[in-house]
Symmetry: C2
Subunit: 155 residues, 2 copies
């Protein structure tokens, strides 16, 4: 009855105490790691249903939320009314990128042209903030907003 709380028994870091490693959960994660960035819940649902015909949409939502709070994935808001998800990439690691979003049409560009000093600055900020506010900082997002060349023409 006491059933102590253990972690990581099944090899997946980030699943909390009592959380189970299920097939839909893995399939959803794989769908995200397969495609590159910015899938909506609906798109993930469709992809996963390809290999797992019986899966329900609610399960997708439930697991995205779980993966998100667990730090495996993060959501991006492109302003089109639906949340989009992508794998969480460690700062400085491969795949790490930031966003450039058009305020008018919502187009999202991933960019990876980092300045060499960028990582150092981010690290410094993290340390500072985590000290001041007692947050455990896991990731960051740098996004620039503006007008894309297409929308600029229409002005």
């Amino acid at each position: 009855m006491p059933r102590r709380c253990w972690r990581g028994g099944h090899g997946w870091r980030g699943l909390g105490c009592g959380q189970r490693l299920t097939a839909p959960r893995q399939a959803i994660y794989q769908a995200l790691s397969g495609a590159q960035g910015h899938l909506s819940a609906d798109e993930i649902f469709l992809r996963v249903r390809g290999r797992m015909p019986g899966i329900g949409l609610a399960t997708v939502y439930r697991n995205l939320e779980l993966l998100r709070t667990g730090g495996h994935i993060r959501s991006v808001d492109a302003g089109d009314g639906k949340a989009r998800y992508e794998l969480h990439q460690a700062a400085g690691g491969p795949g790490h990128h930031h966003h450039l979003i058009c305020r008018q049409c919502g187009q999202v560009i991933d960019y990876m042209d980092f300045e060499k000093d960028e990582l150092a600055l981010v690290k410094k900020l993290e340390t500072q903030l985590s000290g001041k506010y007692k947050y455990q900082i896991a990731e960051h997002d740098i996004t620039f907003y503006g007008t894309c060349p297409n929308c600029a023409k229409r002005d």
Copy 2:
């Protein structure tokens, strides 16, 4: 009949050609400048209705969108399923801040502890990006995600 397109005649920069300066529009903007940051459309609606009982919720949404694409305000996604709005503060200017968001409970902290090199780096990135992608960059957002001390306890 030709009615030429003029701008700024009523003193409000950022309203496009043909856009009118109406009472609800001003009230909504004032509601945002009155309270400090992160109001949802619903909250803005309630506040404005205090002074302007007949206003409709759709009007709030319409004007928030107008103010947003016009560059007066911007929306922040705290992950709680509703868009939140705040006045757009020019980078480096007073009131400019970044965000620290708890992935679990969605708490949003504004921070203004900038490093002196931060502004310089952002400017450099802006120039670089706007050259490469032909974007007119108007603003940026730097957000750190993590776990707040409260939610860390519950783990």
